[in-house]
């Protein structure tokens, strides 16, 4: 196990050599675990690992990333809510899947929106609907027309909000979209490039393919346009009053010592706004890190519930 020793020594040396390690009052008395509500390799996981690495570098704390995938983060948060609020356990998830679950089966979940101390957001996923570059439709209305003529277009999705928005359009427009469930954005792109899908949702993975001209944008699902495709209009602009802005966020079990909460929030903020994160978020999602802070994050979760509830009603389930 010599190699591990050597590595360890190298890492320690690197940590000691780093200037300006944060000197907060609160110090963790052991390794901090950052649980990720999604599988290894996805965008949440990648962001979490980068945040953890950046935190380790800045503070000298030991931050371990663990994957607890399942149900868009519900599996992880259901366990996190019972963890000790000692500042050594945090969880990273995505706002919208959590909110959908709270809205659809809140009574069966072991947590509520106010069961956590919220610490930070990391970024917003640039949700959009894309299609193969040679498809005979350029926006949602044309896709609906195509779908009606061809007995239902196959649309790939990998998140509840995407499904809800398409179901809502099926209800109001009679579009007849057939929704195909995928495990990741990358697999949806495979379906689009392989000709199995007529349109699909992207949450960041699609951007490279827009740049390489393999795919084209039909609409963005955020309330405002997105920087990499300034000409693509939003669902709202195209006359469909739906939007979704999933934030990646970090929470801890309720009841943190205020000092621990502040120390964690500021350590997270330093990591999220660091150059390394900016570069990584730029690479992975073509967007910039966005930290709404502890209070802003809490507001997203607590206030977001009513928006999701009305979307679920529009989708009719």
């Amino acid at each position: 196990m010599k190699i591990i020793n050597t590595l360890k020594a190298a890492v320690c040396a690197a940590a000691v050599a780093l200037p300006g390690a944060a000197l907060a009052d609160w110090q963790p008395d052991g390794p901090i675990t950052l649980q990720v509500g999604f599988g290894a390799g996805g965008s949440t996981d990648t962001l979490a690992r980068a945040v953890a690495a950046e935190m380790e570098e800045n503070t000298g704390w030991d931050v371990v990333v663990e994957n607890k995938p399942g149900g868009g983060g519900i599996a992880m948060f259901s366990q996190l809510v019972n963890a000790r609020p000692d500042g050594l356990t945090m969880g990273m998830g995505v706002t919208i899947p959590t909110l959908i679950n709270l809205a659809e089966r809140g009574e069966t979940l072991p947590f509520k929106a106010d069961s956590f101390d919220y610490l930070a957001t990391v970024a917003v996923a640039p949700l959009a609907v894309v299609a193969p570059a040679d498809a005979p439709y350029d926006n949602i209305a044309e896709l609906i027309a195509y779908s009606k003529e061809n007995g239902g277009a196959l649309v790939g999705f990998d998140g509840g909000e995407m499904r809800l928005m398409m179901q809502a359009i099926n209800n109001t427009e009679g579009a007849g979209f057939e929704l195909v469930n995928y495990q990741s954005g990358a697999e949806i792109i495979q379906g689009l490039l392989g000709g199995q899908l007529q349109a699909g949702w992207g949450a960041g993975a699609h951007i490279q393919y827009i740049e390489s001209d393999d795919l084209k944008m039909l609409a963005v699902a955020t309330q405002t346009r997105q920087a990499y495709a300034p000409d693509t209009t939003s669902f709202i602009e195209q006359g469909f009053p739906y939007s979704a802005e999933p934030y990646f966020y970090i929470a801890a079990p309720k009841g943190l010592d205020p000092e621990a909460r502040d120390a964690l929030a500021s350590a997270l903020d330093a990591a999220i706004t660091s150059d390394a994160l900016t570069e990584l978020v730029g690479n992975v999602m073509q967007t910039t890190p966005t930290n709404l802070g502890a209070d802003g994050t809490e507001a997203k979760l607590v206030n977001g519930l009513s928006e999701i509830t009305s979307l679920i009603e529009a989708a009719g389930n």
Partner: protein, 512 residues
């Protein structure tokens, strides 16, 4: 798309002394950890990634590739020596590897495993390096319907391993699938069969099920059968002729078709995400067994059994980088971890990868070739070391093995819950062994379950609920026809024959 200068520069980057040392370090660590029961290369990669942050990108990626490849070789060692697979991939290798050990030829079995593994791996890497682009196009055409048909085909081939009783085989398979439905369903994300345990939201942890039913069950059964007298865990006869210890070139070449078939199955499974190397190993084993003139010699120490499984499971690795690099789709847990590491080190999988990062990609390819060479060289040293180590008394080997299983599962599942689940599946595995229900088929079905259900749902939507729409998917139809044929040919016909002869095919039962 990439000019020769970039390719040469990339390969040149890989073949520097420091990079070779990093890859070697990864291979040594991977083989070591792979050989430890209860731990896996996935866990090692997850633990190692933070340490690699201080390396240069190529060193870091080379190191992680080394860990991954070393783990594949290491997993076969305890499977062959003490019938306890270090990784689930190796459970197929135990089928013929352990009987060879019992016949006093452990070194020969280990060498064959090593040669087969390196052969499959190198084949797969060469496929990746030379024909990645056309294969990526093939991979694109493998949509949900085709993947669904391929999973059916995997089940059909594996039905050849069903053993003496068709009903017991069916019950084991279906039970494995049923266990995989625990947790959130893939289509609607609703919780199923939780019985009030929030830990079950993500289902029974894979490592708990695999290690419990394949490794812990075997150790406990062996301890329970022990009757006084402390023997070494592994006995190698001293007066072995050279012939019993080595694999001659003629023996290796005699397996060339087996190796090639294994490598091709591995590559085929590798470019389709989500099926995995364990299934590839079993598919290769089952088809080799049935293609042989003397299928009854399998399971009794046939060297072709080892060649089939190790070439196939190692060949998955290189090919699984095709969807990984071109689309960012991981074919396995370790591939998924590698993606995360790639991103952290600035290697962004996707259509622009070869253009923008050509030099790094060819450096990665170079590192893969180096890792194969390291695997071969260090493997030969390592297998002697391990077989020497396991000549320690049984008491030490099995007691430490059980402690390691607890630690390994605790670490990879992140809590004590996974360890309890491991013990439950150890009990289940022992009961199934004792009653001749095929445990390996149960585990394979469990592995394939989530993908099976997901692609079932996708297929139903894509076909719009109408089976006749299958006519738009000729590849899927061919796969389904081949499946129907193999179920009859591999599963039902031999089982009927076996029943007539009243010969129980499954005789490797530790609780008897």
């Amino acid at each position: 798309m990439v000019d020769l200068a970039t390719i040469l520069a990339g390969l040149g980057d890989a073949f520097t002394l420091s990079n070779i040392l990093f890859v070697l370090a990864g291979v040594v660590l991977g083989q070591f950890v792979g050989a430890m029961p209860g731990s896996s290369q996935e866990m090692t990669i997850a633990i190692a990634i933070p340490f690699t942050l201080v390396f240069t990108p190529l060193s870091a990626i080379g190191f992680l590739i080394g860990v991954n490849k070393g783990g594949l070789v290491g997993g076969a060692i305890p499977a062959i020596l003490i019938n306890m697979p270090g990784t689930p991939d190796a459970s197929a290798t135990a089928l013929d590897g352990y009987p060879m050990t019992q016949k006093g030829k452990p070194i020969k079995a280990l060498k064959m495993a090593l040669y087969s593994s390196v052969t499959g791996d190198t084949f797969s890497d060469l496929v990746l390096i030379t024909v990645a682009a056309p294969l990526a196009v093939v991979a694109l055409k493998m949509g949900p319907v085709e993947i669904f048909a391929l999973i059916i085909m995997a089940f059909a081939l594996i039905s050849g391993l069903i053993g003496g009783s068709v009903t017991k085989g069916i019950i084991a398979t279906v039970f494995g699938l049923l266990i995989s439905t625990v947790g959130l369903d893939p289509e609607h994300s609703t919780p199923r069969f939780l019985f009030g345990f929030p830990d079950l939201y993500s289902g029974f942890p894979i490592s708990s099920v695999a290690i419990g039913s394949l490794a812990v069950s075997v150790i406990i059964a062996r301890l329970a059968n022990m009757s006084g007298g402390m023997r070494p865990a592994l006995h190698i006869p001293r007066d072995q002729t050279a012939d019993q210890k080595r694999v001659s070139l003629a023996e290796y070449l005699a397996c060339r078709f087996v190796l090639l078939r294994g490598a091709l199955i591995g590559v085929g499974i590798g470019i389709v995400p989500g099926i995995g190397s364990t299934a590839a190993a079993f598919m290769s084993y089952a088809s080799t067994k049935q293609a042989a003139k003397d299928p009854e010699s399998f399971g009794k120490g046939d060297i072709r059994g080892i060649a089939a499984t190790e070439s196939a499971n190692s060949a998955v690795g290189g090919a699984s980088l095709i969807p990984l690099l071109t689309l960012g789709i991981p074919g396995s847990v370790s591939a998924a971890l590698l993606i995360g590491a790639f991103l952290i080190h600035g290697l962004q999988p996707g259509p622009l990868l070869f253009e923008q990062q050509g030099r790094l990609v060819y450096g990665l390819f170079g590192a893969m070739i180096i890792a194969n060479a390291c695997n071969l060289v260090f493997g030969l040293v390592g297998l002697r070391l391990w077989s020497r180590l396991i000549t320690a008394p049984e008491s030490i080997v099995f007691a430490s093995g059980l402690v390691l299983c607890i630690v390994g599962v605790y670490l990879s599942t992140g809590g004590i819950f996974g360890v309890y689940v491991m013990l439950i599946f150890a009990a289940l595995g022992m009961a199934m062994n004792a009653l001749n229900y095929p445990v390996v088929i149960f585990v394979i079905a469990y592995f394939l379950g989530p993908r099976f259900e997901l692609s079932l749902g996708q297929t139903a939507t894509i076909l719009r609920g109408d089976v006749t729409n299958l006519t738009n998917h000729p590849v899927a139809i061919v796969l389904l026809l081949m499946s129907a044929f193999s179920v009859f040919w591999l599963g039902i016909r031999p089982a009927l024959k076996a029943n007539k002869r009243k010969v129980s095919a499954n005789s490797s039962d530790p609780l008897d």
